[in-house]
Each structure stands twice: as C-alpha cells, then as structure tokens.
Amino acid sequence: MAKITLSPVTRISGLLSIEAFTGAGNIVREANCSGEQFRGFELMLKGRKVNDAVYFTQRICGICSMAHGVTAANLVRRIYGVTVSKEVSILQQALLGAEFLQNHIRHFYLLVLPDYLDSQFLTASYSKKMTSRFSPDAQQHLAEHYYLAMDYSAKCHEMLAIYGGKIPHQHGLVAEGITLPPNAGNRLQFLSLLAEVRGFIREIMLPDIYLLAETYPDYLEIGTGAARFISFGLFDPRFGGHFPAGIIENHTLHPVLPEEIHESIAHAWYRQVDPSQVLPAPEKASAYTWVKAPRYNGLSFEGGPLARKAIRAYPQPLLKVGTMARLIARAEEADQIAGWIAKWMNDLPEQGKYIQELKTPQQQEAVQINDAPRGPLLHRMTANNEDIASYDIITPTTWNFSPKDETGLRGPVEEALVGTEIVNPEDPVEIGRIVRAFDPCLSCATHLIDLEGKQGVQVEITT
C-alpha cells in the first residue's frame, strides 16, 4: 500500500497528523490519526483544591474553555452537595450556548471554508493552489463572509464576557454560581448582541452551508464512517430546548451508561505502570498517538452536532451521514441554540439567587457528563476532603480522533477515511475535508485515566 502523510493538519485546534494507506485506485484502506501533543492535566490537578478545578480545567482549551468550566463547576457542586438555583442553571447554559455559537461560526468560516476556496480570495499572502468549483463571484462573497464571521464570532464571546468577565478562560461562572447577576442593562446588552449573531447565522451562515453542500454534493457521501453516535445530552430539559443523551448503535437508540466506558492505550503513548497508574511513554513502539481510545461496550462512537441531531431526531433516521451532514448539522444546531438562548434569557426572573455557599464536601467521588461543542465531555473526581485526589477527563476529540484499540477497531475519523478515493495523492484534499468536518481539538484530546477502580459509579444524565 502507498502511504499518504498529511502533517501538519492545519486549520484545527492543536497538533494533528494523519496517515492514510491507499491500495488500488487510490482508495484508502487504513488510516492513523495522530494527536501530537500531551500536557497531562489530570496529573496537574492532583493535590489542588477541589474548587480550583473550574478555572484550571478551562485552560485545557481556548476555544471551548466554557465547556470545561461549566462541566467542572457542575462536578464541584456534586462534591459539595450543592444544588444551584434555576436561574443559575438557565444563565449558565445561555453562556455555554454562546460558547457553542462562537465555536460553530469560527469552525465553518475560518477552519473549513478555505478547503473549498482558491486562497487568493482570502488574502494575497496565501498561495494554496486548487481550482474551486465556486465561481469567482461566489468566492468573493464567501471571502467577505469569512471576514464577517470574525466579527460575529467575536460578538458571541462578548456575550460571554458580559457575565464571565473575560473570555477565553472566564471568571464569572464558578461552582458557587454566577458572580454578576443579570439586570435590565446587561440583559439588554446580551440580547442585542445575540440578535446580531442570530441574524448572521440565519441570513448568511446557513445559506452558505447549503450552497457548499450543493456545490460539493459528492461530500454528502464522502467520509461516512460507522454511523455510531454518542451524546451525553446538552442543556437542561426543564427550560425548553435541549439535546437528549443517548447511544445509537445499529440504528437503535440506547441510554448512556457511563460504566460501559473504557479506554484502550494499545496504540497510544502510555504505559500502565501499576493497576492504578498510567503514565506517558513516548518511546512506545506500537503507539502512534497521544490520544487514547475510548470505547463504549467495546465499540467506537462519534460525537458532535451530527450525533446530537441523530439522537434527537430518533426514530427518524438521518438522511445522510458524511462530511456535509456534519457541517450542516453544526450550522443548524447553531441556529437552534441561538433561538433557545433568547428564550432562556427572557425567562430569567427579575430577581434571583446567583451565589450559593459551598460549605463542606458531601461526597468524595463524583462524575459529571454533558456534551461540549464537539461531543461528549466527562469530568470525574475523587477528593480527599477539599483536595483533589484524582481527576479524569475524557473529551469529545478523544472519542472522535481515537486510535485503534487492542482488537484493531478503528476510531470514528479513521473509519470515516477508509474507503475514500484520493484523486491526487500529491494534494490529498479529501483527507483534510473529512477530518475538519469533525472539528478537531487536539489540545483537549490528550489526558490520562486510571483504568482500575472506576466502574460502578452511578450518575444521572442531567446538565
């Protein structure tokens, strides 16, 4: 077989390489996704204060920091046995929603669109040669939208900063609640930004995505993968507008049971030093990535907007699974979430209780699972009174960019690449397009987990 290496995979978050092995007809027969960075947040969290987890875990990722912050805040609340008020839950998910909008706008325009344009339309500095199927006029418009997208995605972050203080790595959402209560003035400011963003999504982004799908209809079929989907659920069903949790396997929906999640390090740069410890091992010969292989009931699962759409629409099956379906699902979900945020903000009461004292820990072990922009996110902690004893994180990109496990079962992106025809091996555009539709975030993907003693933890699927 011939090997095609795509390294670096640019226009993503973090460091990634792809190797595709092609056979007759330049069809991909095997693929390896390599996460090329490791920092070790789980090791760093050991010994820190439980309540430091919110600000600390945000530093895992600059584009989805709020997802980690919210998940960690919910986790710390479980440890302390604190239930926050309805208004905190509503405002918190509105802010999380703003992070989703920021991500989804940036992902399509800044990261994905250049795969389909002649780059001189973006800036004279770039020199990427390809022949776009779009007319020069269409490309001019799309390039203008690319620049507009920078402004509108920045507005999403301004929405977050109103209550968060700053973003990336916000301050206002804490385990105790939210430190800046809504009033008429800041609510109006937030809603006015939201109105602008909604207009952009509806009038510019959605039409652009549909135009892309019409212009590149072959990508409706390219990058299908195994069509197994997972979501930990997103947003609280009490407030209207949410995505339910679930697993779709063999076209059947099942509930998510966290105890069925295991991780394989067979092909990842780690070694098990003793039953309770896994440490980095960059010299390991059989490994090709820093990303571990999460498996649910022994199978790999795709997370993200397409998974959420499939689970929410069930039993209606998805019309298509593939690259364009992922891009369309992301844009449609942005439109839905923008509408929900408006409703949630309007539902906030005039007065409320936004800060709750933590007092003393009531649990010494807890798990929090909920979706993040790219799919299911898990934070798990064991505590020694108010100090963190252990902390485990499984991010969505770990699921999607998983390597093979010990049985040789591929991760979702590897599976999506297999069967693809690479028309020009010197310029494997198909690989980049398939990979980017999953919205890779490799700074998130790398972490550690203790393989022993973590089964049997019950957790409700709430957000």
């Binding site: 670096p8 226009r11 460091l15 940036r106 800044l110 206002g172």
Partner: protein
C-alpha cells in the same frame, strides 16, 4: 514630542479608548510606508490555542485584517489555507529567508526528547517544537512569546509538569519579548507588533514584558482600591468589595486590565466580582493557587507523587 514618545504615550493612555486599534492603523500606519510587510510566523507549540482565539476577538478592525495588511503572514497553523507538505515548504522558505517576526504560542516540552509537542512530521521524521524553535530563533528578527505558556511555561508547565515544558526564553539564547497573559489581551500583542515595526524593541520589565502594558500592577489602578485601603473586604464571590480576601493577585500582577478590560472593553475579573488570578505572571498558575485563598496564605500543595517520567 518624538514619534516614539507619541506612540508610547498613545499606548499607555489608550487603555480606555475603544478605538485603540483603529487609531493605531490610522495614526501610525503612514509611518510604515517605507517598511515593506515583514514576514510573520505564528508558531504553536504545547498550547490550548487560547491566545489565537483571544487575538481573533479583536474587532474594529479585526486583528486578522491588520495582520494581513501590515504583516505578511507566512505560517499560522490555526488559520493558513495550506496543509501538509505545502505548509512545511512555506515555513522552510520563510525561515531560510530570515528577517521575520516569530510569535510563539504555547510552552516547549522537553521531556521525551521533546516528543510531547510535535508540530509536524515528514518522511517518518518527527519534528518537535523544541528543535523547530531552536532552528527558527537564530534567523528571526524579533521573537515574541505570546501568552503565559510561551513566556514562562504557564498552565502547560503546571506542577508536576509531566511534559517538562518550559518558556521560550528557557530554550533559546536570543532575546525574547514576553507578551504574557492567560490568554493575552489582543491589544498587548498588536501594540507590541506596531512598536517593533515602527521603532524597535519596546522597554521591557524584569520579566521581559513591555512596560507599555505590564508596567503597573493591577492593584495600582483597581477601581476597588478604596475598599482595600479601608480594609473593606468581600466575603463571597459576587460581592462588590475588595477581592484580596478571596485570593486576588492584583497587588503583584503587572497588567492594565482595570483600564483596558477584556473583549472590547466590556468587563474584567474584578469588575465581574471575582479575584484576579495573576495570569500574566511567571509562576502562574501555581503561585496563584489556591485561587480563592488570600495572597499571604497561598501555597501550591507540595507534589506527593513521584516525579514524571521523561
């Protein structure tokens, strides 16, 4: 007043001017007429991409437009259209030609022969961030460490630092300008870039950070200073009083956040009723930990585990 004085005065007093970026372009770009666009490399090592995202949050005009009109962006993993071999070639050509501005985001891992951050590989050969930085640094005109990870190690190097990550200045011998922050405020980077292009390296403090932006502590300019001076302290997060009681690092943190604020002058941590956690400082996050413990009582808990393997 010389042009340099004008520019520096503009930077120091512009923290509360919402048209700061616009003003920079309009007032000073004519002085760049004789300068051709310098080649610019944004190099990402072991990072969370937060500094890139924060930079994208600049508005009116947005930073990408400024970079593309005033800088010749030759390599930026997060944004460039090229991928794979074409991207590597672009980097090679730019570095070999020299005289470029190098911005580094993220810390540089040194454990495992640097294999904890591999920006790319080619023909089965792995290129670590450490060796790429060592190759690029001697040929760069200016080197800027963008963000606290690149400047001082930051969260990427937080105790016990499994990847043995270090700041750029600990890897190379060439001078480094530290535009620290977790993440940076885009104004700090843009003002520094303009200074480089118009004049030369700006005045730096003892941590090699431009005094234009980091020269005073947060405490010097905090709106809650009168509470501190009268010993009126917050009891809980969300309170209006001085956050020193809840862990604020303001007294020892160099930054202009109280004036400049964040996300186009909307807010900042103390205005948001939370403490500053000292994110521009060397030693962040460990020296700021626990985040909500008062400064005199902070202590990063001694590491109880055996050292990480490298």
């Amino acid at each position: 007043m010389s042009l340099q004085n004008q520019f520096e005065t503009y930077c120091r007093t512009s923290g509360n001017n919402p048209s700061f970026r616009e003003g920079l372009v309009n007032n000073f770009s004519r002085n760049l007429a004789s300068h051709s666009k310098p080649p610019f490399i944004w190099f990402e090592a072991s990072a969370c991409s937060g500094d890139s995202i924060s930079t994208l949050n600049a508005v009116k005009p947005n930073l990408a437009q400024i970079l593309e009109e005033l800088l010749d962006v030759r390599y930026w993993n997060a944004l460039m259209p090229e991928q794979g071999e074409a991207a590597i070639q672009r980097l090679l050509t730019t570095v070999e030609s020299g005289n470029f501005i190098l911005a580094v985001e993220g810390a540089i891992p040194t454990a495992g022969q640097g294999r904890y951050a591999i920006p790319f590989k080619q023909n089965n050969t792995v290129f670590t961030s450490a060796e790429l930085l060592l190759w690029m640094a001697p040929k760069a005109k200016y080197i800027i460490a963008v963000g606290t990870c690149a400047a001082f190690g930051g969260p990427s190097a937080a105790r016990p630092n499994p990847s043995q990550s270090k700041g750029v200045r600990d890897i190379i011998s060439q001078p480094v300008i530290n535009v620290s922050g977790c993440p940076i405020n885009p104004d700090w980077l843009l003002g520094t870039l303009f200074h480089l292009m118009l004049f030369d390296t700006p005045a730096l403090d003892r941590h090699q950070r431009p005094t234009l932006f980091y020269g005073e502590t947060i405490h010097s300019n905090c709106q809650r200073r009168s509470y501190f001076d009268k010993h009126i302290f917050a009891k809980d997060l969300g309170d209006r009083e001085c956050m020193f009681s809840l862990g604020c690092m303001g007294p020892i943190t160099g930054s202009d956040c109280p004036y400049r604020m964040w996300n186009d002058h909307l807010n900042w941590p103390v205005k948001d009723n939370t403490p500053c956690i000292g994110c521009t400082e060397p030693g962040f996050p460990d020296k700021s930990s626990p985040f909500f413990t008062p400064l005199p009582e902070k202590q990063p808990k001694p590491d109880e585990r055996r050292p990480s393997h490298g």
